[in-house]
Subunit: 251 residues, 2 copies
């Protein structure tokens, strides 16, 4: 895998130690090839971001006109998988071998500086380039649907009615290799100009996170069996399954 | 403005009234031109989605190679505004008059059906097409920075040190007219096949939402003035300012 990570972190203790702004920019991926240890570290970081979200923005172009479509995905090993109805413009374009760009973004907070100019957000994002590969056999398609379902809500697949051949025929499934990817991460406090530090302005970070609410049972089926169903643990404990972000990692 | 909205909502009371699946698909925008009332309603709906988020995914293409970049934005009237460092590939491409696609997505929940195939998510998304317009005068650029800041955290602009001419010179600011936009909305419970309704599977919706955590003060400045700062109300009450989503609108 070929990765680069652009990272920016502001250290709290600006006056006790030098400003710890770690910033690695690689404009060409070969730069990272020369640093295998960094590359391994980066691939873990990239996969962690991919695993924390399940919505990507998939970009493709037709005659240089860009389209950006929100798409749910799942990851297994070095691939992400996504699906949708056959015959859409997006899937027809993917099928023709077009280059795509898949971007995943997680917002961690609003960074409130003393100057307007130095406001920013804390975020982690991944960009993957490549060509999507269509899955054709019913077995591969069923496997991919399982990967997507288990990525979005781990534990769910075992409970539900599995797809029929007719359903598999009606849906298109694609994979994208995560072999050319980059990440950008911004964390920590605002970086204000020296002259602004004594200004009479509250400065810091307002953390943002995604949480799950109370599960809402589908009450359309008026039978006692369903009304007595307990909420499965994998739904009740969703946040604990790693899809939303533990507080300690939100700085 | 020219809009279309593709809407899908499953009604709870599947057995008490016909399945209320409202689904409007307009593949060509002229379809909406013939229905002015719907168009007005849709534009409100689209602006509501734009105002609820502040992160878009901006797509552009260079020689048919797509790029999708996460970008913060603000909206005023019928335009969104965004900014960044001068000289990036993205801004050079925008400056050349390239067509762009800006997509904003809000995930409202995971829809858990009785069959794997009918799983989906509840979401609201907006896609805007057009060409970005660069702002050149310092006054226009300062106005746009104010729009972006106030969009992300209303009330903040009045507190902070305003941008200098040097800062304005160092940043590029663009606007995009919201005059060709579409929205897609999915809400409500899963739509299961009739045959699956009696299955022994918990079905319903797991709502997801973005919340703000406890503000973290930048403690890098060791002076009493700053340590005595109170958290401003617009930060403390961030969720009440409409940037995250009231519970009653989450179904």
């Amino acid at each position: 895998m070929i990765f680069y990570v652009a990272r920016q972190h502001s250290n709290n203790n600006r006056y006790e130690q030098p400003l710890n702004t770690e910033k690695i920019i690689a404009t060409h991926r070969t730069k990272i090839k020369t640093n295998a240890i960094r590359a391994v570290y980066d691939s873990k970081e990239i996969l962690k971001i991919i695993d924390e979200s399940f919505l990507c923005h998939l970009g493709f172009a037709v005659n240089n006109q860009p389209f950006v479509i929100p798409v749910c995905y799942g990851r297994k090993d070095d691939r992400i998988y996504f699906h949708g109805a056959k015959g859409s413009r997006m899937f027809n374009t993917l099928r023709s071998g077009a280059e795509i760009c898949v971007t995943i973004s997680i917002v961690d907070g609003i960074v409130l500086a003393r100057s307007a100019f130095n406001h920013t957000i804390n975020y982690r994002s991944v960009v993957i380039f490549g060509k999507a590969h269509e899955l054709n056999s019913p077995a591969d398609k069923a496997d991919a649907l399982k990967i997507i379902t288990e990525h979005i809500i781990p534990g769910r697949w075992g409970d539900v009615r599995k797809p029929t051949e007719k359903e598999l025929h009606a849906t298109s499934l694609f994979s994208l290799n995560i072999n050319e990817a980059s990440a950008k991460i911004r964390s920590g406090h605002p970086i204000d100009d020296e002259d602004d530090l004594e200004l009479d302005v509250w400065a810091g970070v307002l953390p943002l996170k995604i949480i799950d609410g109370k599960p809402i049972k589908d009450d359309s089926v008026k039978n006692k069996v369903h009304n007595n169903f307990q909420i499965p643990d994998y739904i009740k404990n969703y946040r604990k399954n790693g899809k939303s972000i533990p507080e300690k990692r939100r700085r």
